[in-house]
């Protein structure tokens, strides 16, 4: 099985926000939640770079480790998914995640938050693949259709790569060698304990 990862080539990202919009539209993500977001480092300064960030589907995911009700599970593709039926909205995963991926649809009195929502790597949840119940809770299941996550698939500059970790690392490495520079595979060391060496 493939080990699915995201890789954002910050030297290619032009901050068009298409990945953010595509994700929201594809999964009909609720108001106030962005499963993917684009952050601009050194905005307006020399060396400005933009990075598109979502759940990185970590190895030994901290959210999974800290969840008091075991709502998380890792698929055979190494995608970290969760069950909204099991989630009690305690917020621990939000505080454990290094990437700010888990989000909550509402902020109520006494810290009530509702069911956690995060990037599913376009592969739904525990419900039957491509079922209506799955779509309502987690959005579409493109992986089950044999497709990769939409954000990466429709990235106009191919800055955002999704797919097997080894393959996208090779693509990135080739780019860095060809153009002579690269700012690193953002988040890889934090998420997978490794980096793309060039």
């Amino acid at each position: 099985m493939a080990r699915m990862k995201f890789l954002c080539d910050a030297d290619r990202c032009v901050e068009c926000q298409a990945c953010v919009t595509a994700c929201k539209n594809e999964h009909e993500v609720p108001w106030g939640i962005n499963r993917r977001r684009v952050v601009t480092i050194n905005d307006g300064l020399p060396g400005e770079r933009s990075v598109s960030m979502a759940c990185m589907h970590c190895t030994d995911a901290p959210c999974q480790a800290v969840c008091p009700v075991n709502a998380f599970y890792t698929t055979d593709d190494a995608v970290v998914l969760h069950s909204k039926d099991t989630c009690i909205g305690c917020g621990y995963c939000f505080y454990a995640c290094p990437f700010g991926a888990p989000q909550f649809p509402r902020v109520g009195n006494f810290g009530t938050r509702g069911k956690m929502d995060k990037c599913t790597y376009c592969s739904g949840g525990p419900e039957a693949d491509m079922s209506q119940a799955e779509y309502v809770k987690y959005g579409s299941n493109r992986l089950a259709e044999g497709k990769l996550p939409l954000c990466a698939e429709m990235c106009s500059t191919k800055a955002l790569l999704a797919g097997d970790g080894d393959i996208i690392a090779d693509i990135y490495r080739e780019r860095v060698v060809t153009r002579g520079y690269g700012s690193g595979a953002w988040g890889w060391r934090t998420a997978y304990g490794e980096t793309v060496s060039v």
């Binding site: 962005n34 060396g47 990075v51 989630c87 290094p98 810290g111 988040g187």
Partner: protein, 343 residues
């Protein structure tokens, strides 16, 4: 109109010329794309503890601008490691200790057995405050502990769905019962603080080990002995720490950054573990561990022999104040009034 255009034309031309000529110059000023300031590695190395690599974000949630916050993993390791282990060690350790104590010492009996005469030890207000703080604490402790070890202990028994429902209700109970707990804590403090100021009798009591280890040994004590004072101050100070950190957890905006919220959760869980262990000992000695002790909080009336053995100075005090009324329920007529000055 034409005149203004004529006037502005040179300016426009100048601007176009400026852009045309400035072009190569701007390009020359461009930073090296390998500039270390934009490399993830360099930014991560420059991070201080508790910081995040952050930038500008166009969505309204400003906090989403924090792109990578590696310290969150440290908190996760703390929570799953130190905090959980410490709680298990404290609680299981105390249970083992109490079981060992019971096997060695057995139930501590009243010297001379029950006399049949009772003295009022705690009035209705005291008992109400005690049981409110006790009842809410037990639920808070169990629901809190459930978040730490429930998935290892309860989940395999109940199954995922039932355990999730239980935990969701537990969370609601924890959030809402915190308030009556805090109120009861305040009442307990007001009602008993004067009786819990340490005095000379406590030194003697501690020297004799509270008479816990030797049969028949009962060092003198006022209304509360040194052991009970330890429980009182643990409940008050531990409860205050739990209340403060708990309110911060309930209102994350008050806690400020996520790093402080994480710190409050670590404090909350560790203090809860320590206080829970102390309370286990308190529950033991108040029920199984000592004959006649439960009546103090049950009916509020303790046996005279029990009172004389465990709180000799308090009984003498009562006798001095109301020679006719105390001790002896039959003679007192109004035991509530008799005990009132002491309470």
């Amino acid at each position: 109109m034409l005149k203004t255009l004529m006037l502005r034309l040179p300016a426009l031309l100048a601007l176009v010329a400026l852009i045309a000529f400035a072009g190569p110059e701007v390009r020359a000023q461009q930073v090296n794309p390998t500039e270390s300031s934009v490399q993830e590695d360099a930014l991560m190395r420059a991070l201080q503890s508790g910081e995040a690599v952050s930038g500008r974000i166009s969505i309204p949630d400003a906090r989403a601008g924090k792109i990578i916050k590696p310290d969150n993993k440290d908190w996760e390791a703390w929570h799953e490691g130190t905090v959980t282990t410490l709680n298990v060690v404290l609680l299981v350790g105390m249970l083992v200790l109490l079981a060992g104590f019971y096997l060695l010492r057995g139930r501590i009996r009243i010297p001379g057995g029950f006399s049949g005469r009772t003295i009022q030890r705690f009035n209705a207000v005291e008992r109400f405050a005690h049981w409110l703080v006790a009842g809410t604490f037990i639920i808070l402790a169990l629901t809190g502990l459930n978040l730490l070890i429930g998935r290892a202990v309860v989940l395999p028994v109940l199954g995922e769905s039932a355990f999730s429902t239980l935990s969701a209700w537990g969370k609601i109970a924890h959030n809402y019962l915190a308030w009556p707990y805090m109120i009861a804590l305040a009442i307990v403090f007001v009602v008993w603080v004067l009786h819990n100021v340490p005095n000379k009798a406590d030194v003697e009591w501690i020297k004799q080990g509270g008479g816990l280890l030797k049969d028949g040994a009962h060092p003198p004590a006022k209304k509360f002995n040194a052991g009970q004072k330890v429980v009182f101050w643990s409940v008050v100070l531990g409860g205050a720490a739990l209340s403060f950190s708990g309110v911060m957890l309930l209102f994350p905006e008050l806690a400020g950054s996520s790093a402080t919220w994480q710190l409050y959760l670590v404090i909350h869980a560790i203090v809860a573990g320590i206080l829970g262990a102390i309370i286990l000992a308190h529950i033991y000695i108040g029920t199984l561990g000592m004959e006649g002790a439960f009546d103090a909080m049950g009916t509020g009336e303790v046996d005279e022999n029990w009172a004389k053995a465990n709180h000799s100075l308090w009984v003498e005090e009562l006798k001095r104040r109301r020679p006719a009324a105390a001790p002896g329920k039959a003679a007192a007529g109004a035991p509530g009034k008799a005990a009132a000055p002491a309470a």
